[in-house]
Symmetry: C2
Subunit: 412 residues, 2 copies
Amino acid sequence: MARIVMKFGGTSMAGMERIRHVAERVKREVEAGHEVAVVVSAMAGETDRLVQMCREAAPLYDPREYDVVVASGEQVTSGLLAITLQGMGVKARSYMGWQLPIRASGHVSALIEDIDVAVLDRAFAAGGVAVIPGFQGVTGEGALATLGRGGSDTSAVALAIAMKADRCDIYTDVDGVYTTDPRIVPRAAKLDLVTYEEMLELASVGAKVLQTRSVGLAMRFNMPLKVLSSFEDRPGTLIAGEEAVEESNMERNIITGIAHDLNEARITLRGLPDRPGAVAAIFRPLAAANINVDMIVQSVARAGEPSDLTFTVPTASLPETVAELETIKDAAGFTDILTDTDVVKISAVGVGMRSNAGIAAKMFDTLAERGINLLAITTSEIKVSVLIPEAYTELAVRVLHTAFGLDQERVA
Amino acid sequence: MARIVMKFGGTSMAGMERIRHVAERVKREVEAGHEVAVVVSAMAGETDRLVQMCREAAPLYDPREYDVVVASGEQVTSGLLAITLQGMGVKARSYMGWQLPIRASGHVSALIEDIDVAVLDRAFAAGGVAVIPGFQGVTGEGALATLGRGGSDTSAVALAIAMKADRCDIYTDVDGVYTTDPRIVPRAAKLDLVTYEEMLELASVGAKVLQTRSVGLAMRFNMPLKVLSSFEDRPGTLIAGEEAVEESNMERNIITGIAHDLNEARITLRGLPDRPGAVAAIFRPLAAANINVDMIVQSVARAGEPSDLTFTVPTASLPETVAELETIKDAAGFTDILTDTDVVKISAVGVGMRSNAGIAAKMFDTLAERGINLLAITTSEIKVSVLIPEAYTELAVRVLHTAFGLDQERVA
């Protein structure tokens, strides 16, 4: 007998037919003798609809009341799944975030502080399944709180940790984590095992399978995650610590995957004076405005002469960034602000990179051979990222996928 | 300064434009210096949609989980109204039933036990408006509970009583209580003042302005109710105790209104044996099955000979009633069960009736003159009801409205 959390996303909960399908999956685990808590998202599209109504109500809506409105989507699906399970003869009951409680701080993108699982322990002891709305909690003042978009993944992982679950299964509309986007590279292969760090890097550069926050949380508590398809019966991808890689004994590629991220915008500041603290004078106000600066390149200039500074920010932050830069332009001394959103960040990720020099070099060579110009470069211990013109996205992903030996053998 | 509860129904809350209109109404009362609590329904159609999903989830759905699902509709509108009010510069906050709390017992048609208004008193002291979802409460075990269809009227009245409000204003899609259905009688007049008892009788016989439960509760605590239009600025109808009628000094008709109710079905049992307890043997099992028997007529028979028994039940209960009667048929000794749903109950209601003999006689005469056959009759202290063939509904309502002097003078 294991204790497991099963999490189902919005597309898995979209409509009664799919909820019935989810209930059948849950029933199977219960019949296998497991203790099961199910975390559910709102029906696909519902949260968007509720957010839109809040915006219409007032452009600067109160975060507290926003949470009251949007938390309702998961409340509905939890109740419906509990009813459906009961209709199939499975003892099930829903528990809202405020009923357990799931204590959280803040609004709109609240953080989970702790989860009281005493009620769940009693439910499991009595042979029951617990259905819990994702994305929500309750503040110290007793107000509803939501965790931010994609927060249900985090709810599931936090609950698994609090429950001391054996694992947390994330059911979604893809059947696992792939070496790259299969829409670009048909030979992309599903990975059996990805480490937390690799998943974090892949997620942060565009692989949208799991919310980054939930992977970080799972890593901190070493909670094994499994990404599975809601719609098909396939093994899925295990996300675990590096010891799982060592134990698995499997031959592994140095590179785990190639990701691409179109949500980057490039900003170039022209004519930045060569004086101490010139760069800091630019990034300090951006940091204060909560703008995430990512890749940074400073052109080499002769001492005493002005230079150019290039960096990237999330495309969504571009207008805000430019506005911020305009206010400091005179003080900082640069002459022009150039922006470019037609760029893409391509990343190669893999824990094997640590012990293999030359990954970056191989990546640059592969792209150079195709005449692809690198606009910026960043590296971390397990990742190399390059910024290139957006038009080369598919080509770059494809040639790197092949170069790093990730192409799957086609079955004849 | 007064302390008031304003309640808005589903049509008043259907969409952001209408919610904005509601917020303007609320703002006006706040600016007049009043302490305001607003009770809201779900958007029109939303509760039906949620109920339908519960039914699809499982035909015999769990009442506890049904309440989790359907309580979400009012949660959404409360949050949206609070946001809208804030956007207009009105200090507003929503309080869910479980947050106050509104303690209730049972599920699906739970009863309100008490309401803690300490939080609201603090909100009013700080100049704030409280927005409260109607229709919901929380049980002693901390589960969500809903009050049954139309329960938001009851929420509003119960809250007004707990808050010691000066009055409870019910905003709806009609602008008050009329002497009869204006769709049948264009000369129907809006009433300025109706007593609780009259309203109860009118509501119980088809005038669907207010939920009966809410009127009964208001009467018990002598809480003045006002029925007003959400969409037009008109005086509305005050519902209060008889002392208000006495104080008003207005000339009042003996009859306040004529109502009709199509939700009655007639059942006739043929050949009932003439023996002690024969009738009780029929009504006892129906009462046990929670079937509401209304009008009863027993045909006069010669001693020792079988007679016929006619009575009415709500049309919705007809299948269940017939099934129940089939099981007792042999023991009770009647020979046939005849049913008829093509009937209507027409009622004349008015507190003035008490001191005026001859109301029933005038009613029978008026209908007889038009050749309308009376199938059954019941009277109470302030009401006379007759059951007639459904085809005569409009004719009967019209002639009675005229006969009792209720026709409004037409403005030339």
